[in-house]
């Protein structure tokens, strides 16, 4: 990890923690990958390929006690607000990091962003994020307690979302990350956990995962889930 990027990330997390926001979020996305290496301890063949995006999952049930103007909180670090077009959700951008807020999509879904009025931003609604909320772990990140999805949930989620990707590059990136994380889980005695979680998701989702694993040639994982 680039030092200046790490320092900036830590400063952002510290400010979120001081404002009471961090404990109410789950850090998701590729920033979890290096943290999983520490979680299982030891050497693991897992790449740290990632974009600058740092995604925070916020549960739809979450309420924030205090109002925090997030864009103002991070302005002196050089973050500026960017509105996505035509979706309308916002991101806080910086050459080293891009902050995004996500909430699980529910029901039939809507194209409108989810308002987070207490934080002065809004969030993007995405399918399948519930899977990342079901089981979380708390890890240390530069002395801060950060909540991230359990690696089993992370891995299966990556494989699941890859099936919906239309962009071939993003699909390849998701499958690669998902397969690597699931293999790391299996190597660390979490194979039964993968099978258990796989058994709890819908038939349609199971089919999607199997199809993606078949396409990627991950025979070892397919055998485990058979």
């Amino acid at each position: 990890m680039d030092r200046s990027q790490y320092d900036l990330c830590l400063e952002v997390l510290k400010r979120l923690d001081d404002s009471g926001i961090l404990p109410k979020t789950v850090l998701i996305g590729s920033w979890c990958l290096p943290l999983y290496k520490n979680f299982y301890l030891g050497h693991h063949d897992i790449s740290s390929l990632r974009t600058r995006d740092i995604d925070f999952l916020i549960s739809r049930r979450t309420t924030f006690a205090n109002k925090v103007d997030l864009p103002a909180l991070l302005e002196d670090l050089g973050f500026v607000l960017e509105h996505s077009f035509p979706e309308g959700y916002v991101r806080l951008i910086h050459p080293e990091l891009i902050l995004e807020f996500l909430v699980p999509e529910a029901g039939r879904g809507t194209s409108k962003p989810y308002p987070l009025t207490e934080l002065g931003v809004n969030a993007q609604r995405l399918r399948f994020l519930g899977l990342l909320e079901w089981d979380t772990i708390v890890v240390d990140f530069g002395g801060l307690k950060v909540t991230i999805p359990h690696p089993v949930n992370f891995g299966l989620h990556k494989i699941l979302v890859s099936s919906r990707r239309t962009d071939a590059d993003k699909k390849a990136k998701d499958i690669k990350a998902g397969v690597e994380v699931l293999r790391m889980c299996a190597e660390n005695m979490d194979g039964p956990r993968i099978v258990d979680l796989f058994g709890t998701i819908s038939q349609k989702q199971r089919q999607r995962i199997i199809k993606s694993l078949e396409a990627s040639g991950a025979e070892d994982l397919l055998k485990m889930l058979d």
Partner: protein
């Protein structure tokens, strides 16, 4: 043939290039929004006067503001000065990223 890893890396680089191009546009917009010029105090024949110093058509222009300016004007220009320096610095970083990423995607630079 591009392997899964190769595709993933190319995909990330393309995504990052798009991000940087959008970022450049946003920093340009933020710089535009800041009040132009800097607030300066001049002492003329023992009296103090405030001016906004602007650069117009390669010439420096002093716009007279009066003998006193409010605290909020001071703060506005101090904040603008700080943000302008920060945004310019970040903008040049973004431009370097764009140049590098375009080069890598054309196969001219090593990753």
């Amino acid at each position: 043939m591009v392997t899964g890893s190769g595709m993933a890396i190319k995909g990330i680089l393309r995504e990052e290039l798009d991000n940087s191009i959008r970022m450049q546009k946003r920093y340009d917009e933020e710089l535009e929004k800041l009040p132009a010029g800097s607030l300066v105090k001049k002492k003329i024949k023992g009296h103090e006067y405030y001016y906004i110093v602007l650069r117009e058509n390669k010439k420096v222009r002093f716009a007279y503001q009066g003998k006193e300016v409010s605290e909020s004007v001071f703060e506005e220009y101090a904040r603008a000065k700080e943000l302008r320096a920060k945004y310019r610095n970040l903008l040049s970083q973004v431009k370097r990223q764009i140049k590098f990423l375009k080069g890598v995607l054309r196969g001219q630079e090593s990753i």
